[in-house]
Symmetry: C2
Subunit: 186 residues, 2 copies
């Protein structure tokens, strides 16, 4: 059977793609990465989103044609604060819309935030066509995953730096957010 080589050397027959649901990303990828930093996924690379411009990301990904998946450690803007540093050399990621809750059956397992990249500096940045979805674990699941890693009870203090899976979607033109559903199966 004809095989297609992904960048990770994964042999997939024609037509097979990495196309996870929101819940699959949380349950099978992010939760595992938070529980064990050594967890490596075929389809998800690692990137520091403060050090790359969005247009650099496709070449850093393991696979993908219009979407590229990364684990990214969340960098705190201020050591004691909760704001995440979202700036790069060329611009910044700005959150848009409302975070979406992600469920596994009836349990809340994570949240998804949508961000758009602006070139320049706030508040005078220029909107680009790059869109990112950032996934994070729900508080209880997150604490449980860290508890598993370190053998501490789930109520232990949350670490200063935490993994969040980030998904970057490329769009070639300025479009409304309804298009971010096109590639995501329900």
């Amino acid at each position: 059977m004809e095989q297609h080589q992904g960048q990770a050397g994964m042999d997939l027959p024609p037509g097979f793609r990495f196309h996870p649901t929101d819940e699959e990303l949380i349950t099978h990828y992010l939760a595992k990465k938070v529980a064990d930093a050594r967890f490596a996924a075929l389809a998800v690379a690692e990137a520091d989103l403060n050090k790359c411009e969005p247009w650099d990301l496709p070449s850093l990904a393991k696979m993908g044609e219009k979407e590229w998946y990364f684990f990214c450690l969340k960098d705190r803007k201020y050591p004691t604060g909760l704001r995440t540093n979202r700036a790069t050399e060329s611009g910044y990621w700005k959150a848009t819309g409302k975070d979406k809750d992600i469920f596994r059956r009836k349990a809340l397992v994570g949240m998804k935030k949508t961000l758009v990249f602006y070139t320049g500096r706030a508040p005078k940045g220029e909107k680009s066509g790059w869109v990112m979805h950032e996934y994070r674990l729900h508080g209880k699941l997150h604490a449980a995953a860290l508890g598993f890693l370190h053998g501490k009870p789930a109520s232990s203090k949350v670490h200063e730096r935490t993994y969040a899976a980030c998904v970057c979607l490329v769009v070639t033109s300025l479009i409304d957010r309804s298009i971010d559903r096109l590639s995501r199966p329900d």
Copy 2:
């Protein structure tokens, strides 16, 4: 790594799905089936669409959650005619809209027709939520594929019965055709 068993026993990591483009279906699946009737695909089953109702198809498929893929021999309505028999016991498939041309780079390789299932008998059938996309090879490619099988030149007579790949999309409610783009990567 956690694996998910498809009905065909295919081991895929979480989040990997069969999600081919129109061109991939034509080039890597239909053209091969026409060239060699013994060609078997992991993700594409065989079905006789005149003998099953659309609601029977998911259980006959090799895999799929909202879309099910089949090779189907086109049955001629009349032995000497070109009309395809699209009736089942409960109803019939009716073409809608305009056929779409499918290209591989700049070459026309196939066409895609959209059909909707109606219960009852024409012209008084009742529209259902079942939608099918039927793919067929472009004439030259088709003749070339048959030529390959039988060692005859490409201009040889087309066989009376030919394979067309049929894709069934399930929709749970009556919706407009713009939704048929939701699951198909460009």
